[in-house]
């Protein structure tokens, strides 16, 4: 039953929940043939979840997806491809050891009884490459291609599968200026051929250039739509961050003291370029910027988790040699990682073992663990931080995000940390636990510790920090003293590269 529809792709009332998170709230979305729609929103606004649903990688809890008027039921990721929807993720899905041509035809090889018709394959690939203006040797191994070329291979892959809808997730993030220009031309060309394009990006100037329309998301909901004429930077930013600051942060007045930690001209590859800053006693210093701006990479240098190319880190005037994390831990620098599951906790072990891990020296005598002192100390933190665990032996993987974060916090508090680095401390944590963690950060600052908080949540930054550093592509874009004159708009425009000099 084909009803003629004016839309190539139509989403209605898409709703998606993950444990503890309402990721998408009844989102509508539509795309016509020959149109490029920009999908905008902050980190965590729900853009990735939405495109994963369009790509069939996630399934909706409720709502409908219609392609060319036909209602879709996608069970597995290839179903959406069969319906003509192709997604080009930021991380490409290419097999490095296969050639460009082999990647393009992976899974749909022209074959006779299992023998690949290589001639036909090559001819078709060359034709597609020509169509998209790609100057790539079909026999070149994917490994040897540049990022831009890989992207073209992905696009070619979509085209040979007859995709009518192309979703590009931050396609320009990895490209040079020249390559981006070529991408624009290609997008124009594809539009001419009636292909509908969804363009996800942070870079507003690109959106102005390439999109016919923009749909803005915030907190998992669609908050508005802007037509080509209305595409205006100020308006977009307002829509993206437009939420009101509620009283979700404990108010504290602090008076930061002397400098405790000082970083001078830190460098590491392309991710950290000439970063200098200091952290004072009793201060919360926020570090923000878009995902991938080099925030995490910077603090990992302070913790000795990665090695800096150059630069100096001092604590209380002493230059530190940070060859490995335990060197930093020894002097009282602790990192609460962004990714608790992959880096913060040993999920398969008990909460007590996780708590004890950096503290075993304290709880042991000549290598023998004094289990009772360990248990005693852990008990006191369960009470102090109100960690909800069924017992000491409960596996870390079984805790909620908030309680996992508290276990991580407990292990560092026991270590008597002087400088605490919180990387996205409240990501994936429910509101109640968030507030408790904020309170703890305030309390630690009050006790004279230095605190660095990385966050993408602008309200959180404005609500919690004393000073704010904004990074973009490895560089420090600005340093602001938090106050009434600093707004989400200020931070956002710094983060996306508007060099407004805000005297702070």
């Amino acid at each position: 039953m084909t009803i003629e529809s004016k839309y190539l792709l139509k989403l209605r009332g898409i709703d998606k929940r993950f444990p503890g998170v309402h990721a998408l709230k009844s989102v509508d979305f539509e795309l016509s043939g020959g149109e490029c729609v920009a999908l905008l929103g902050e980190n965590g606004a729900g853009k990735s979840t939405l495109i994963k649903i369009i790509g069939g990688a996630h399934q909706t809890d409720s709502g409908s997806i219609t392609v060319k008027g036909v209602v879709q039921r996608w069970i597995k990721p290839t179903d959406s491809l069969d319906a003509g929807v192709a997604i080009i993720y930021q991380e490409f899905n290419l097999v490095p050891g296969l050639s460009a041509a082999e990647n393009v035809f992976l899974g749909i090889e022209p074959e006779n009884y299992g023998w690949v018709r290589r001639g036909e394959e090559n001819a078709k690939v060359q034709e597609v490459f020509k169509r998209i203006g790609a100057d790539i040797n079909p026999d070149a191994l994917c490994d040897s291609l540049t990022v831009a070329e890989k992207q073209l291979v992905e696009i070619a892959k979509a085209l040979v599968r007859d995709a009518r809808i192309l979703v590009m997730d931050e396609p320009s993030a990895v490209l040079t200026k020249k390559e981006v220009e070529q991408l624009y031309l290609l997008i124009d060309d594809l539009k001419q051929k009636g292909i509908g394009i969804v363009y996800v990006s942070h870079r507003l100037e690109e959106v102005e250039r390439v999109a016919d329309r923009a749909i803005v998301m915030r907190d998992g909901a669609r908050v508005g739509e802007l037509s080509k004429e209305d595409l205006d930077r100020a308006k977009i930013i307002e829509m993206m961050v437009g939420r009101k600051l509620e009283n979700e942060f404990p108010q504290e007045t602090r008076s930061p003291g002397r400098v405790r930690l000082r970083a001078t001209k830190l460098n590491r590859g392309q991710k950290v370029k000439n970063i200098s800053f200091d952290v004072r006693m009793g201060e919360i210093l926020a570090l923000t910027g878009l995902v991938g701006a080099g925030r995490t990479e910077t603090v990992r240098l302070l913790f000795g988790a990665d090695q800096k190319d150059s630069g100096v880190v001092e604590l209380d005037g002493q230059v530190l040699e940070l060859g490995k994390p335990s060197d930093a831990i020894e002097v009282g620098i602790c990192l609460l990682t962004e990714d608790r599951k992959d880096q913060g906790l040993v999920l398969g072990q008990s909460v007590r073992d996780n708590f004890g891990l950096p503290n075993l020296k304290k709880f042991s005598n000549k290598g023998w663990i004094d289990a009772s002192s360990e248990a005693h100390s852990f008990n006191s933190y369960i009470k102090k931080l109100q960690i909800k665990v069924s017992g000491h032996e409960q596996l870390a993987s079984q805790l909620s995000g908030g309680n996992q974060q508290k276990v991580v916090l407990a292990k560092w508090l026991e270590r008597n940390a002087e400088i605490l680095i919180f990387d996205e401390p409240t990501r994936g944590i429910d509101v109640g636990a968030k507030f408790e963690i904020y309170q703890w950060m305030n309390q630690l600052a009050k006790a004279g510790k230095g605190i660095i908080m990385i966050s993408s949540e602008l309200p959180e930054i404005l609500g919690m920090s004393d000073r704010i550093l904004v990074m973009k592509e490895g560089e420090l874009m600005g340093e602001l003293t938090n106050g009434p004159n600093v707004t989400q708009e200020t931070l956002m425009s710094l983060a996306i590269g508007e060099k407004i000099e805000h005297a702070a």
Binding site: S326, T337, Q343, G344, L357, P358, S364, I369, A371
Partner: protein
């Protein structure tokens, strides 16, 4: 089905399997057992004293074997102590029995009882004697009562099982640690050969071969174990410092080790060893339990304590469970990896020394394919190949499951080729079980 899951989900879930296997093999090897040696004498002494109120005259007969002689000697002692007159002691077969009987009736003496082992009761010579000399033949023939008991559960068999698995079980301790760090060590089989050859070579070349003193033997064995731990340390440093995958690093060491053993021995067995060299492998100083088994138990207790009570143990689990989280918590990940591979090498070296002692020689062919049995024991014991989870005692259970299956199949006469098929299937089932456990008993994740 729920209780089945609960049992298998627990750390020592395979213990249930081991018990079931033991029960099964006990059931199918259940048969008439003839008591032997001293036990037989004790039992027969009791029946004779029950049947006869007064001491009489007895002829004792047993085979000319160790257990037969133990039987006759012990019974003679018991009965004479009870006041019986010993008409004679026969050791041997039918001719000796006939002669013994005739001697017993010399000078028209009376005979009350012929106390003999079971195998004598139905001998033709005994029938003939009764038939030919009727007057004298009113003596009773008594032999020890037989009883029903599974061959599998005989204490000698159980000790045999333990002794046969001791080497594999000791190696499996080290392998368990390695696998908990999410690694693997394929070189342990070769290290057995290295150790056995090196220990015996050192004793032969430096400490006078079969004239060697106890000190010399200890020095040779210690040196061999030390060498193996250095080789393990080498694999470990390839893994820790250069990120070589454990499979490849230890595969290389496996070939190196095997080659070294052949080079050192020239491809021949080294057997110039003192008599007492077999103390470790064949001796049984503590209530008849083989020394190797005692050593195995001690090592398991030690390893369990290390894994559960010390910082090193805790770190090993953390390194396997999440190396990045461990590193960021200040765990010395590289040192732990080095320690684990060095220990695994040292235990393989110890295994080689035990094996050399069992065979009283060192041979470069020792330990061939042992790594596979050792890995099988660890996996069957419930240690996860993806690291971070596993228990040392689980491995002991795994090793015993393999030993019991092998022993049971030997007792029931299953061919060795078939045995390999069965063991392979057991290994696959154990891995499947591990997968199901991890996924919460669903088919796919």
């Amino acid at each position: 089905m729920k209780w089945v899951k609960t049992i298998f989900s627990s750390d020592y879930g395979m213990l249930g399997v081991l018990v079931l296997l033991c029960a099964f093999f006990s059931w199918i090897t259940f048969e008439e057992q003839q008591p032997e040696g001293k036990d037989a004498a004790d039992s027969l002494n009791q029946s004779i004293r029950q049947d006869f109120n007064e001491p009489g005259r007895v002829l004792i007969a047993g085979r000319k074997t160790d257990s037969g002689q133990a039987f006759t000697a012990h019974l003679r002692e018991l009965l004479s102590a009870a006041g019986w007159e010993i008409a004679g002691v026969v050791e041997g077969g039918p001719p000796e029995l006939g002669q013994g009987l005739r001697l017993a009736f010399d000078h028209n003496q009376r005979l009350d009882v012929l106390a003999c082992e079971q195998s004598f009761v139905n001998l033709a010579v005994l029938q003939n004697f009764r038939n030919s000399e009727l007057k004298k033949s009113d003596f009773a023939v008594m032999s020890p009562d037989s009883s029903s008991w599974p061959n599998f559960l005989k204490s000698s068999n159980l000790l045999n099982v333990a002794n046969q698995i001791a080497v594999i079980a000791i190696l499996a301790i080290g392998m368990t640690l390695v696998i908990i760090t999410a690694g693997i060590d394929l070189s342990v089989g070769s290290l057995i050969a290295v150790s056995a050859v090196l220990a015996t070579w050192v004793i032969r070349e430096w400490f006078g071969g079969d004239e060697a003193t106890v000190g010399g033997m200890i020095a040779g064995c210690g040196l061999a174990i030390l060498a193996c731990s250095v080789l393990g340390l080498f694999s470990g440093s390839m893994i820790a410092f250069f990120g070589v995958p454990p499979f490849v690093a230890t595969l290389g060491m496996m070939m190196v080790g095997s080659g070294l053993a052949y080079m050192l021995s020239g491809g021949l067995s080294i057997y110039q060893l003192p008599q007492s060299f077999d103390w470790l492998g064949r001796g049984d100083d503590i209530v008849g339990i083989p020394n190797a088994v005692v050593l195995m138990v001690v090592l398991y207790l030690l390893a369990h304590t290390i894994m559960s009570r010390t910082t090193v143990g805790r770190y090993i689990y953390a390194v396997g469970g999440n190396p990045e989280a461990a590193r960021l918590s200040g765990v010395p990940v590289k040192k732990i990896l080095l320690w684990v591979y060095a220990s695994c090498g040292a235990l393989a070296g110890l295994g080689g020394v035990i094996m050399a002692s069992q065979f009283k020689s060192g041979d470069p062919k020792y330990g061939l394919m042992y790594e596979l049995y050792v890995i099988a024991a660890v996996v069957v014991g419930g240690t996860s190949l993806s690291g971070g989870r596993g228990k040392v005692f689980g491995t002991l259970i795994g090793a015993f499951i393999i030993a019991v299956i092998q022993n049971g199949m030997n007792l029931t006469g299953v061919q060795s080729y078939t045995q390999k098929v069965v063991l392979g299937i057991v290994l696959l089932l154990a891995v499947l079980l591990d997968m199901f456990k991890k996924r919460g008993w669903r088919m796919t994740s």
